[in-house]
């Protein structure tokens, strides 16, 4: 299943598709076992996550709110009137790429293979290898990077 199909299925599960498109997805879902498995996993995740996204309200009408933002956007006149940035993109590329590449190269060269890498790279944490030893069980994993928590939900209902 490609990424676009997965995103469409998520939108369908969240009720975000229009009626014609929703009907199309529902028909495709009924005929596609892979999609049904993904839909079941999304449902299971929803059952143990708390709440939905909080609705944020502002005390103004939609039109007034957006007109305030529009008013604050800088107007762009003819290109000749826009002053060139003090530090151009080209300048950044000429410095950042060689300096960054040299930094990384040095870092990996002075840390021999087999020695511990710094723990600051562990922000990439997430399950690397999962093995459910028991048939008729399923798992759903999610990693909340900001909280530093990985949760693996093990569904043992299939064992009964």
């Amino acid at each position: 299943m490609n990424l676009e199909a997965q995103l469409k299925l998520q939108a369908f599960m969240d009720g975000e598709l229009s009626s014609p498109e929703g009907r199309e997805v529902a028909e495709w879902l009924a005929q596609t076992p892979d999609a049904q498995a993904l839909a079941a996993e999304l449902n299971l995740t929803r059952t143990f996550l708390a709440g939905q996204e909080l609705e944020r309200r502002v005390p103004e009408t939609r039109e007034f709110y957006w007109s305030q933002i529009e008013r604050r956007l800088p107007t762009v006149d003819s290109p000749a009137e826009v002053a060139p940035p003090f530090i151009s993109l080209g300048w950044w590329l000429r410095w950042v790429i060689p300096v960054g590449a040299a930094t990384l190269l040095t870092f990996w060269l002075v840390t021999p293979p087999g020695m511990d890498r710094p723990s600051n790279l562990a922000f990439l944490e997430g399950p690397e290898e999962i093995d459910t030893s028991v048939p008729n069980t399923s798992t759903v994993s999610f990693h909340a990077a900001s909280e530093g928590v990985t949760v693996v939900w093990i569904d043992l209902s299939g064992l009964n």
């Binding site: 996550l49 930094t103 040095t106 562990a122 944490e125 928590v149 990985t150």
Partner: protein, 157 residues
């Protein structure tokens, strides 16, 4: 021009050295400190059971993303929560309750492998890095819309 190029590469080399040298000594430790707890989640008030203890506010904060309102540590004196240390490649098996055990192996480089056993049967195995202060939670459904959580916390060295 060549001077400028040398300057850029030289700066990069310097940053790389500073980055490498700036690592605290303890991140290169060949051992890991962990704590294993069995926690129970429910939307009911705390039942009158002596073995249930309130969890810490820090743990409460970590688990707030889950749907249960209350979490209690199962504090059975026969199977207390354990803080333990593992050297690289060392494995420990810990019994968290009469029916629940975990086997933890430190693979090095902040990476652990955890195998969960329920009533003596292997239910799940997972390997992942775990930095100090972070949690790995293996969870499942219990009766009456409650849930059990095996929580492994990586302690600071």
């Amino acid at each position: 021009m060549s001077t400028l190029i040398n300057l850029r590469w030289g700066l990069g080399f310097l940053f790389g050295l500073m980055l490498w040298a700036g690592q605290p000594a303890e991140v290169r430790a060949d051992e890991m400190r962990l704590k294993a707890q069995l926690i129970w989640g429910t939307n009911q008030d705390k039942p009158n059971q002596p073995h249930l203890k309130d969890i810490s506010p820090q743990m409460r904060e970590k688990l707030k993303m889950l749907k249960w309102r209350n979490f209690f540590e199962v504090n059975d004196p026969d199977y207390p929560a354990k803080a333990f240390k593992l050297a690289q490649s060392e494995t420990q098996k810990l019994k968290l309750s009469a029916r629940c055990e975990i086997e933890v192996t430190y693979l090095g480089d902040s990476k652990i492998r955890v195998e969960l056993f329920g009533e003596g049967r292997s239910l799940h195995k997972i390997s992942q890095p775990l930095s100090p202060g972070n949690l790995l939670v293996l969870a499942g459904e219990d009766k009456n819309d409650t849930a059990w959580f095996v929580v492994l916390t990586a302690l600071k060295p």
